[in-house]
């Protein structure tokens, strides 16, 4: 019995097919598990372990290494405020403090209504809009306290759910095309190309 919903399970199988070894699908599959449950639940981890031919302990240990994976439930909106060097200079610490007041939760925790989780982030690579803020890993480009509060109000009202979808970095990433050739076909093609190169190499050097 699959813990994944039918659509997630189908996407998981599509992802698995992209790699020569199932374990390579670990990160995208964990993103999918998180997309369904909002965090990495025990059931989600078990299913990723099954799909990647690993163990739940191995999956959990891998997931712990990566900042984007949540082993505990988080709010509907994960708010990341950068305080790294360019943002520090532009007042990142002050904005983070303000965010904590506005959202009503200390850094690293979730608001009591379960709507927001606040994180101090490392550089998010948008330094011309410092201090940089992401919500569910979408740039909201609110560099001032007032702009931040306005975005939070819109989020509360559910007004920008299109721009800031719930969990799931990959929610709109779906592969449409594919090679549609067997690996042996491609290998034969490469071998022929290499043989052709061997043949013309002496001619080029003389």
């Amino acid at each position: 019995m699959s813990h994944f919903r039918i659509d997630i399970r189908q996407r998981a199988e599509e992802v698995l097919a992209l790699y020569p070894r199932p374990r390579s699908a670990m990160l995208p599959l964990l993103h999918l598990a998180q997309e369904q449950d909002g965090y990495l639940s025990d059931e989600g981890i078990a299913e990723v372990a099954e799909l990647t031919a690993t163990t739940p302990a191995d999956v959990r240990g891998t997931a712990l290494f990566y900042d984007m994976f949540h082993l505990e439930p988080v709010g509907r909106y994960v708010v990341s405020v950068c305080t790294n060097i360019a943002c520090l200079i532009a007042g990142g610490d002050e904005l983070l403090e303000h965010a904590s007041e506005t959202l009503g939760c200390p850094v690293g925790s979730t608001s009591s209504d379960g709507l927001f989780t606040l994180e101090e982030a490392e550089c998010l690579a948008d330094c011309d809009f410092a201090p940089c803020v992401q919500v569910n890993h979408r740039y909201v480009r609110t560099t001032t306290s007032d702009a931040f509060d306005a975005v939070v109000a819109s989020l509360r009202a559910g007004k920008i759910d299109h721009d800031v979808p719930y969990h799931g970095t990959l929610i709109r990433v779906r592969r449409a095309g594919g090679l549609h050739a067997t690996r042996s076909d491609v290998a034969a093609e490469r071998a022929a190309a290499l043989a052709a190169r061997e043949e013309r190499t002496p001619k080029e050097t003389t």
Partner: protein
């Protein structure tokens, strides 16, 4: 002051709001480079890139053509594209994956053809949610258009590109850690030798890892020839390059400028570039190439921005990120924040990096927050020296990867250049800039 006369090689489409779409891409010369490449022998394509002397844009600055040609004899199994940009204050690849993903895909196909590789992975940083969508869309469009898949554009070459999402780990920008992440493991860098990617990379097979910006240069190089690229810039630094300017400047952003033709002063003060320092304050220091690079003082502002020029003065261009501090910036706080970053991002495999980064961070925290002791300053220098013995540049390696030896750069620079600031923090028991 230099004028902006050089062609825009990688940012040419960015004036258009729809620069990320296939229709805009095709209307502005898209896939012409690839079509031309497919009429050439693969080794001729590689030789154009070699002739361009395109230096890798990821950080190490190794010539891309040489990376490829060193391995011409052994067939390469995989091409991996590094889009895990996370060096603090670097935001050029973010721009490229979000605003011109088709150019990236075209460059990647050209590289794959030159290397005769059919399996390509583009690793995009997980935090770039929109970037991932755009690159995947570009790949989907390319299949539709016949630029990817079996026998592309009627040639004898088949290729598949898989877009792989990262999940938030700075260390995965290191090429062997990135390969580990692609194999579904923790991003622990591998020891080199033996695990040079080109020898034993992804799944133990020969693998080439190139940066997003490096790949994005290839369509232009094939269209205009390697010689035309090499004619730009000067010395070993050819072509144009993207620089991400951040910090205390009026107009932060990503700028494409010809290598060596500009000085740091031009970049900061030119009205078309940085537009000067905020409130006309004086520059206190700059970081010339990402937080892994040693800092420069205002005395080096007239240095031309080039690979060797910066290396000669004991730093590096690295990831192409330039951060400007002015007289209102607290360099102790800045160096503490950078130390905190490294302490958080150290993967924990090697003792000097794992223990050293935390120790440095704690000592820096004490000083910045009023609990510093005078002996902490020399303790910090000693800690730095233990991670990178001799504190030379390029640094001595005591760890598996280069994250470790990058830790001392900022802290040691700050102490060397602004020891008085540290002393003042300790004697006044707090930060005088607060």
């Amino acid at each position: 002051m230099a004028t902006l006369s050089a062609p825009r090689i990688v940012l040419s489409r960015l004036d258009h709001a729809d620069s990320h779409t296939l229709s805009r891409f095709l209307a502005t010369g898209g896939y012409e480079g690839l079509r031309k490449a497919l009429t050439m022998f693969p080794e001729a394509v590689a030789s154009e890139v070699d002739q361009a002397s395109l230096l890798g844009r990821g950080g190490a600055g190794f010539p891309a053509g040489r990376k490829w040609s060193m391995l011409r004899k052994a067939p390469i199994s995989y091409l991996v594209v590094n889009g895990d940009e996370s060096e603090p204050a670097t935001f050029k690849d973010h721009l490229l994956v979000e605003r011109d993903p088709h150019q990236l895909v075209e460059g990647v196909i050209i590289a794959a053809y030159a290397l005769q590789v059919s399996a390509v992975y583009i690793f995009v940083r997980g935090e770039f949610a929109l970037g991932l969508e755009r690159v995947q869309q570009a790949v989907n469009d390319a299949y539709e258009h016949g630029a990817l898949g079996k026998k592309i554009f009627g040639s004898e070459f088949s290729i598949d590109i898989v877009v792989h999402p990262g999940a938030g780990a700075y260390i995965c920008g290191e090429e062997t850690a990135l390969i580990e992440a692609l194999e579904g493991k923790r991003g622990f860098p591998r020891i080199k030798p033996p695990f040079f990617p080109a020898v034993a990379g992804l799944y133990g097979e020969p693998t080439i890892v190139n940066n997003v910006e490096t790949m994005s240069n290839l369509p232009w190089i094939i269209n205009h020839g390697g010689a035309a690229f090499a004619a730009l810039g000067g010395g070993r630094s050819t072509g144009t390059r993207l620089f991400a300017l951040a910090g205390r400047v009026n107009n932060p952003g990503v700028f494409e400028i010809e290598m060596v033709k500009y000085t740091f002063r031009d970049l900061i003060y030119d009205p078309q570039l940085g537009g000067g320092v905020i409130d006309d304050k004086k520059v206190k220091a700059i970081i010339p190439g990402g937080v892994s690079a040693p800092w420069f003082g205002p005395d080096l502002l007239d240095l031309p921005i080039g690979q060797d020029e910066v290396a000669e003065k004991g730093s590096m261009l690295g990831s192409g990120s330039i951060v400007v501090f002015d007289e209102t910036s607290c360099v102790v706080r800045a160096a503490w924040r950078i130390a905190k970053f490294f302490a958080r991002e150290s993967c924990g495999q090697c003792t000097p990096c794992r223990e050293g980064s935390g120790w440095i961070e704690r000592a820096m925290y004490r000083i910045e927050h009023g609990g510093g002791r005078m002996e902490d300053i020399d303790l910090l220098v000693d800690l730095c020296d233990n991670i990178a013995p001799g504190l030379t540049w390029p640094p001595q390696q005591t760890t598996i990867c280069v994250l470790g030896p990058s830790i001392p750069s900022s802290v040691h620079s700050a102490i060397k250049m602004f020891r008085d600031d540290f002393v003042e923090h300790v004697t006044t028991g707090g930060c005088p800039y607060d």
